[in-house]
Every structure is written in C-alpha cells, then in structure tokens.
C-alpha cells in the first residue's frame, strides 16, 4: 500500500456526476462519498436515477460529466473489468451454461495475483510478478464462498434448477469470491417473496458485518433501506434529496418528498407566524424552528406515531378531533381523525389506544415532533411569450388569458397551485402531462404534473391522481396572472 496517498477512508467518491440519455437528464450533479466498510443504500422511487448511479460506479455507464473515484483513483473512464468492484444484479444474471461451481469460479479465472516474487526494471521500479490462481486455490475459494451462502452441496447443480433465493445466493457468492473492495447490489431482493426477502436481508447484514466490505445497495423499498443501512441516500428525479443515517432520515426528513417517501407522515401547509410559532390546520402551535421569514408559507410534517391521543378536557390537549376510522394493525391502532376547525383536515395517527368512531378526542403534539421545512415552490412561475392578444403560450399549449400584450412579448406567468384544473382525459386539457408525484396534505392533494417539455406544474386538488397517469391541464383565464418582462437589452 502506498503511504500518504489518499490517507482518507473514503472508498468511493462521486463528484458532480451527471448522466443524460438523448439530452434527457437522469442523474443530476450527484456528489457523494462512501466510507470504507459502510453499508450505503440509494433509495428512491423508480426512475429516480439510483440504478444509473450504481451502474456508473460499476463502469457499465460512462457519466456525461463528473467523475468516479474508487480507492482514491479516478476510475471514470475505466472499463468494468478494471475496477475492483462487483455487482449483484436484480435478475441474478447467472451464466445458464455453467453449473454453480463454474459460475462462482468464473471471475477467479481472470484474476492475477502477486506470486510473492518481484523484479526491478532498469529504471529501478519494482514490479510484482503475477500469476493466475491454481486449480486447487480456485476450488478452495469456491468452496468457502459456497459455505458462506449455505450452498455447500450445490456445486455440481445446474443453475436453472435452483430456486430464486438460491440463485441470488450463487450470484452473491460469485461476486464475493473475488474479494472486491465494494459490492454493488442492484435491488437484489426485488424478485424474491416477502419471507425470503426478510431472511436474505438478515443474511446480507451478517455478511456485511463479517466481511467488512463496503456495500452499496439500491432499492425502492424504504423499509429495507431503514433496516439494513448505515447511511441512506434518498434520491428523486436524479437529485440527492438527503443523505443521513436511517434514524436521521426518518426523524428529520429534509423535505416533504423524503417525509412522504420514508415512512408514513402527515404533511400540512402552514405559515410561520414568528420564530418558534407556526400556524397550520387553523391552529397555532409552538415549535423549535426559527429563522424563517415572517409569514413564510411552509410545510409541516408530523409522523403518525408522534401524535398522542388524550382526553379532550385535559390541559395538554392542543386540538380536538373526531375519529373517522380506527384499524388494528397488530402492534398499534391506525386512527384517522378529522380535526375540528374551519376546514376539515385529516390526520393519521398511530397509537395503542383504541378509539370509537365518531368519538371526540384530544390531540397533543410535542414541539420537537413538528418538522418544519421550506416549500419547494409557492407558485407556478413560467417565463414565456405571448402567442397573441389574450393568448399566452405555456409548454407548447395556447392558454386564453386576459392580457392585451402583443404577440411575442416576453412575459412571466404566475398560476396558483389551486387554480390549475386537472382533466382525466388528456384531450380535455389545453396541454397534457404525466402525474409524477402526489402528496396528501391533510385536506387536499398536492400533485406534480410534468409537461412534455419538462416543466413541473404544482397543483392542489381534491382528488388523488394516480402517479404515472397522463392527464390534461387547463387554467381559468381569470386566474392567469401575467407580468411583462422588461427587456433590459434594448433592440433585437
């Protein structure tokens, strides 16, 4: 080992990593360092760029820009076979023409190791003499690997005769036998049934502990991520949302997306009245956050288990609510209540007290259980041009509006979240788009609709729109606010 060079314990460093397919960005500016021996999980919904990131570490994809460093060396342009990392694929990718033994031995046949002797060239540089593994060495290594995954008797078996779980064990053994610096796992348990998945989770954790190898694990299953990882990296749309320990990510989600994606949560829109004072659900609460602007609109996130149910007459009661449902979930009751107030806000609660439907209960939330975060956006703002008098172009669609600016005028269009109308039938809207996210906010849903030219419309709506559906969008002409953008550079 060379001394002095990269004395850090960072085994993988991704620097400003970007990847686009046909101009469409999939991974955007990902910067991440992974410590030696860490179990890191890349977590996010499908299409969030987690697998692409993993494939760039493995070397199957070349980044559009940015760099990948492994053990301190820039490996961005290195082919997969030159990297000391191994991958376990979701669909196992075992070689069907080889038996279990030969599948596992496959990588060993290419490996070269120091045979213990050295030679020095005329410049005085010392090189290790290399040799291949002998047959007995390979046999021993494969036997050890099989023992590790509990498949000792299976070496002569044809891989096509194995069950899903056994195949995945062979795939893991095939990777680990090469003693990689990093093991990359791409949703390795995705194809297994629930029971098998739980068993394999424990086994993978044990293997990680025993071998001390760095694991980079990709999954969309938040429970898997919370159970197994040292560090969770939450991704969405190719951007890292939060990096932290499972506890930190769960207790202090960085934004509404993370809160909604990891565990269950109540998300409400509110306003910061002053430092340590927040208003939501038409009530004033104390909180532990400060430094927000006066009257700044914010999102409040409350975990269902952080809401305590109490007697409505007690002093600690902050809110009263009516129980609308109560379901036994084994170790707790899942209670839905409607908060008494001007509007009907719905809140989800996990508690071990059984409640009667239609009973009035008191609710109590501790100040540090209110997680307050800036809103990603408070209004839809689009820079565009007038199409004609009273018609403005937005994302390729022609929206009628009340504005007498001439065609071609550059304008800034503002549309409130609740002024956007969603149509089930794409053709009924002025433009079409895909629902990419919906978050329930107590008494309404906030959807994000992505238009065909990649503008994300935030829409507040009464209905729950299915993620991935195509919908139409229209806006009442009176609700479109148009401001002329003054051209600072005169003359075209």
């Amino acid at each position: 080992m060379e001394q002095g060079k990269m004395a850090t314990d960072k085994i993988i460093e991704l620097k400003n990593l970007c990847k686009s397919y046909d101009e469409k960005p999939v991974v955007k500016n990902v910067t991440l360092s992974i410590k030696k021996g860490e179990f890191v999980t890349l977590l996010g919904p499908s299409g969030c760029g987690k697998t692409t990131t993993l494939r760039m570490i493995a070397g199957f994809e070349k980044p559009t820009s940015g760099s990948v460093h492994i053990s301190g060396n820039d490996m961005t342009q290195s082919p997969p076979y030159a990297r000391n990392v191994n991958t376990v694929f979701q669909n196992y990718a075992l070689f069907p023409h080889l038996n279990v033994f030969n599948n596992i031995a496959f990588g060993l046949k290419f490996k070269c190791i120091n045979d213990g002797t050295f030679f020095t060239d005329k410049n005085g540089v010392k090189y290790a003499n290399l040799r291949k593994f002998t047959k007995t060495e390979i046999t021993n290594k494969v036997k050890n690997a099989l023992k590790m995954v509990d498949l000792e008797e299976y070496e002569k078996r044809n891989v096509s005769s194995l069950s899903g779980g056994q195949k995945q064990r062979v795939a893991i053994a095939r990777s680990l036998v090469n003693e990689p610096d990093v093991l990359l796992l791409d949703e390795p348990l995705g194809a297994l049934d629930l029971k098998m998945r739980k068993d394999m989770q424990l086994e993978l954790m044990n293997m990680h502990k025993k071998l001390g190898i760095t694991f980079v694990y990709v999954t969309h299953d938040q429970e898997e991520a919370l159970t197994m990882s040292d560090t969770i990296v939450v991704m969405k749309d190719g951007v890292i949302q939060q990096i932290g320990t499972p506890q930190k990510v769960y207790d202090e989600p960085a934004n509404a997306f993370v809160a909604d994606f990891i565990g269950e949560s109540n998300i409400f829109s509110g306003t910061m009245i002053a430092d340590f004072k927040v208003e939501f659900c038409d009530h004033l609460f104390e909180c532990v956050d400060k430094g927000f602007k006066f009257n700044e609109p914010i999102d409040v996130i409350i975990r269902p288990e952080d809401v305590k149910i109490c007697n409505p007459d007690e002093d600690i009661t902050q809110l009263t609510a009516v129980v609308s449902s109560c379901v036994f979930k084994g170790d707790h009751f899942q209670i839905t209540v409607i908060i008494n107030g001007g509007e009907d806000y719905e809140m989800l609660i996990h508690d071990n007290i059984e409640c009667k439907v239609n009973a009035t209960v008191g609710l109590c939330i501790k100040p540090f259980d209110l997680h307050i975060m800036h809103k990603a956006r408070i209004i839809n703002e689009i820079k565009t041009e007038m199409w004609d008098f009273n018609i403005v172009e937005i994302s390729g669609g022609k929206f009628p509006c009340n504005c007498d600016l001439p065609s071609g005028t550059k304008v800034l269009v503002s549309i409130d979240f609740d002024d956007v109308v969603i149509h089930d039938d794409e053709d009924q809207g002025i433009i079409g788009g895909e629902v990419i996210n919906t978050i329930y906010k107590g008494n309404y849903y906030q959807c994000v609709i992505r238009t065909d030219d990649y503008y994300d419309f935030f829409v507040d709506t009464e209905d729950d729109w299915l993620k991935g559906d195509r919908v139409g969008i229209s806006v009442n002409p009176d609700k479109i606010v148009i401001k002329k953008i003054e051209d600072t550079q005169n003359g075209d």
């Binding site: 082919p79 990718a93 023409h97 290419f110």
Partner: protein
C-alpha cells in the same frame, strides 16, 4: 355436442392427412421410381438397384461424382463461413441501439424475402462488373451471401432471450469484452448458431438458380442440381439414375432438417427446465 366435436376431430385429421399426401406423394413416387428397372418405369422387371448401380458405373458417373463433391464442398465451406459471419454480425446487431438494430434487421430480411432470381442476376452483374475470377470464388461468395441472413435470423432470437445483464456480469467479474463474448455469449447462443449452420448447409445444397447463373459456362463446375438440369437437355430425356440422385439429395436435405429439429427440441426442453 359430443358428436359435433367428434366430427370436428375427424375433419381436422383428414385435412392433415390429405395435405400430407399431396405434399409427399410426388417425392415418394420418385423414391419408388429409383428402384425400377433402368429402361422402363414399371415393376415389370421387378424391384432393382440398377438405378443406384448406374450412378457409379455409367458413362456419366465421373461427372455425377464431381457434381456431388462440388455440392458438398460448396455447402460445407459456405455454411461454415456464413455461420461465423452471421453469428458475429448477430452479436454486433444485438449491441446496437434499438433503432439502428431494427433498420439492420430489416435490411437483413431483404435477401430472405427477395426472389432468388433477382439475387442471382444481381450477383452475376456484380461479379462481371468487378471481374471476380470465375468458378469456386463466385459460387462461394454467392452462397455465403445468401446463407448469412438465415444464420443471423436463427441466432438473433437466442440473443434477445438472453438476460441483458449477462454480458455485463461477465465484464464485472473481470472478463475483457472479447473473453466475455467467447466464454459467455457464444456458449449461450450456440444452439442458435448450430441451427443456423444446419439451415445454411441445407439451403446451399438446395440452391439451383444462384449456382446456375454464377457457375460460369467455361469452368465446367457443376453441383448436383445444375448437372442434372443441364444433362437433361443434352442427352435426350430423363435417365433412370437421376431418380437415384434426386433421392440422394432428399436424404441429404431431410437429414440436415432432422438435425435442426432435434437441436430445437433439445433446446426447447432446456428452456422448459429453466
């Protein structure tokens, strides 16, 4: 109800039987003819091997033997070369982007759906324009060029069935791209390569038009099909030993086809276990 389905079954069966009879009676008839006495097409003189004997000791035996040799040499060489070309091309096509893959696959289909006479004439024009040496060179190039698309066609499905991560897994485990292709991809697609080879061999033996137009008049090279065709015109009518020769071609073709089918059944059984 029972009766109706019964009648349906009988109709289905008899349809197949009629179709098979229509298809195979002429061939059967010819095989029977090959056991007739040399002079008359009847069993008047009883069952005889005269036709087969005359294959070897008539005045034309030497030429027939040469034609058979040519047929087998051309089929063997061209099917081996087109199998190698086709398999490598298929791997190349597989790794293309989806759009260019579709384009190349469609171009590859052209020689398969095109009428043979068009290929034969265009090959002839090509050879004459670029002054290719007449004889084996032209015949081999011609046969290779129309056999290769069939090999690609039979290898492609194997590649498409393959788990897309397999090649990456091999690279990941330390194999260079070439080693990955030799140690992983080729063994996995080998059933496709084998049936492609058998198909190429069969259609090369089977070919008449392309060989006839490209063999050249002065070289004197003949395959079985062209020799039989030309001698039919020169020597006044059908000769008995041709039936024997035809039967030989049938045996050759049927044998290769059987080989393909056996391989296919074998690989199907293999997939089933998976």
């Amino acid at each position: 109800m029972v009766n109706a389905s019964h009648t349906k079954k009988i109709l289905e069966r008899s349809y197949i039987i009629v179709a098979l009879i229509l298809l195979y009676t002429p061939i059967l008839l010819m095989i029977i003819f090959s056991f007739f006495n040399t002079s008359a097409f009847s069993f008047k003189n009883g069952f005889s091997f005269d036709a087969y004997e005359s294959l070897f000791n008539s005045s034309n035996s030497k030429k027939l033997e040469d034609a058979l040799k040519n047929t087998i040499i051309i089929a063997a060489v061209s099917s081996v070369i087109s199998t190698i070309l086709g398999a490598v091309a298929a791997i190349g096509i597989y790794s293309m982007s989806k759009r260019s893959r579709k384009i190349v696959e469609n171009i590859n289909q052209l020689p398969v759906i095109n009428s043979e006479i068009v290929i034969a004439v265009s090959l002839m024009l090509f050879f004459v324009t670029f002054k290719f040496p007449a004889g084996y060179t032209r015949l081999l190039i011609g046969h290779i060029s129309f056999c290769t698309p069939y090999v690609i066609l039979s290898v492609m499905p194997r590649l498409m069935q393959m788990d897309s991560n397999i090649y990456e897994a091999a690279l990941d485990l330390g194999a260079t791209p070439l080693r990955a292709i030799i140690t992983v991809i080729i063994p996995i697609i080998s059933p496709g390569i084998l049936s492609g080879f058998a198909m190429a061999f069969t259609i090369s033996v089977d070919d008449f038009i392309i060989t006839q137009l490209n063999k050249g008049t002065t070289t004197g090279i003949d395959t079985l099909s062209t020799y039989i065709y030309s001698s039919m015109h020169t020597a006044g009518g059908l000769k008995a030993y041709w039936f024997a020769a035809f039967s030989l071609i049938i045996v050759l073709v049927v044998g290769t086809l059987l080989l393909i089918n056996l391989r296919k059944y074998k690989s199907k059984a293999h997939i089933k276990i998976q």
